[in-house]
Amino acid sequence: MRHWTLAQPVVSAFVMSVVRDFSERDDILQDIAIAVLEQGARYDASRPFLPWALGIAQNHVRQFLRRQRKERLVFGMDMQDLLQTAFQESAEGVAETLVHLRECLGRLDNHEQLLCELRYAKDLKPAAVAERLGMSANAVSKALQRIRDQLRACIHHKVLLKARS
């Protein structure tokens, strides 16, 4: 259980990298969590947990894609394998730095926080955000990209400060 708690953010991001709809991602993630719990006895504790959990996630994602063919642009299976390896190799370190995210979010201005709220808390796609704010979808996407850049810089800064102290 503890293993899963630590691995879950990486597994979640991996699923998101292929299934971008938030609520669909949530459904798949819940199924994965249950599968991890049910198949826990098969996990070999002498091996790293994350690759095992990502393997289960990969299967669930593929099952989902077979059932749902509405994803317009989906990575092929070979690319999904490459991404799974990339998550396996580097994601845990990155995920740890994201503990600073909440603090960095607090530094955004009102408009930026509103954009984040509409996109991430209300699950609105840029086109829907654009409609509410009188912007174009591309402008919203660019603005969100700038916000993520800012957040990444802020997080990086905090990681450096922590390392120095």
Partner: protein
């Protein structure tokens, strides 16, 4: 950082890429591990942003009553307001809600999937049917439109068309036996129940009505509209598992064993938020014993009840088994009452 790749990734996340651009992204990712690393970093940030903002949203939805909302106004971030309100509330209530704040802090970092597994454990812990008595309190009544709300203490005269649930007592035994006792405004009692063979209704006046249809008089049970009556707890929890987003707080990374010693009397709160297009109460909050999985309180927020949406609280009073005869109608009315079978 490769700006062009970054832009393609952003377009991918926002579903704005053309097929050509998507192919380009794919070939860029295939090109080098460094590019895939950049993609992974962006996915993790995007995913964590969603988790963090959803947690804030949930906190604000609970701390800010819907009546104060202005859904159409987007000039100012609700997230910011929620944070400010949270600060104000904390400064006012200090010690009294310290425990509550700790719970919420734990909650914000709680993972969705860990909560799902916790729910699975809770289902297993409640698979055995036990006799229970709940005290029901109605916290709020919202009209179906959701625009006009009224608080129970302010307008006691305004009651839903169904019998009032406030101060009702619900005795449950097994999956089918129940006695629901409503207290009417004039103090008289209205009872509905089922003994597993007959369902029945006893009004203050008129005949006692019975039916072999066991669901005939179960319409007033909280959650009846969507078969979430909590008579059979594990089944209702399974419904939550299917149709709701689950959160548990606090998350202490230490819930490997619900029966662990040392968790005596510790309580945890499971919050289930209804998914879009799913029927049922908007939110279900369950306070349960960490050690035994015993459910001590159930709160159904914006629960459909006739034309209204009620927020009710069902608090476990006792676990005494009154025996099967208690659930027969004859135990609850005089021998002189006329009984009609429908």
């Amino acid at each position: 950082m490769d700006r062009e790749l970054q832009s393609l990734i952003a377009g991918y996340l926002d579903d704005l890429l053309t097929a050509e651009q998507f192919s380009e992204l794919e070939s860029r990712l295939r090109e080098s591990p460094g590019n895939r690393q950049q993609f992974v970093t962006e996915m993790l940030l995007h995913d964590r942003l969603r988790a963090t903002m959803m947690a804030e949203e949930l906190v604000s939805s609970i701390l800010i009553p819907p009546a104060t909302e202005s859904p159409g106004v987007v000039g100012r971030s609700r997230w910011l307001r929620a944070r400010r309100l949270t600060g104000a509330v904390l400064s006012l209530l200090v010690m009294g809600i310290a425990a509550f704040v700790i719970l919420w802090n734990g909650f914000i970092d709680t993972s969705v999937s860990a909560a799902a597994t916790e729910l699975t454990r809770l289902i297993a812990a409640n698979a055995t049917e036990t006799a229970r008595t709940y005290q029901i309190a109605v916290e709020d009544i919202a009209l179906k439109s959701g625009k006009k709300r009224r608080q129970i203490p302010d307008e006691k005269s305004a009651r839903p068309p169904k019998p009032p649930l406030d101060n009702a007592v619900l005795h449950v035994r097994g999956a089918e036996q129940f006695v629901l006792i409503h207290t009417l405004a004039d103090g008289q009692k209205l009872l509905t129940g089922c003994d597993g063979r007959l369902s029945w209704s006893i009004r203050p006046d008129g005949p006692v009505r019975t039916s072999r249809d066991l669901t005939r008089f179960s319409h007033d049970l909280p959650g009846h509209e969507h078969s979430m009556t909590f008579l059979k707890i594990d089944e209702t929890l399974q419904q939550l598992q299917r149709g709701y987003e689950i959160r548990v707080l606090p998350d202490d990374n230490d819930r490997d064993d619900l029966t662990a010693e040392g968790a005596d009397n510790a309580e945890r709160l499971l919050i289930a938020m209804r998914r879009r297009k799913m029927p049922g109460p908007e939110r279900v909050e369950i306070v349960y014993d960490v050690g035994t999985g015993e459910i001590r309180q159930i709160r159904l927020v914006a629960m459909p009840y006739g034309p209204d949406r009620l927020t009710i609280r069902m608090t476990l009073q006792e676990r005494t088994d009154f025996g099967v005869s208690f659930f027969e109608h004859a135990q609850h009315h005089g021998a002189d009452r006329t009984v009609i079978e429908e």
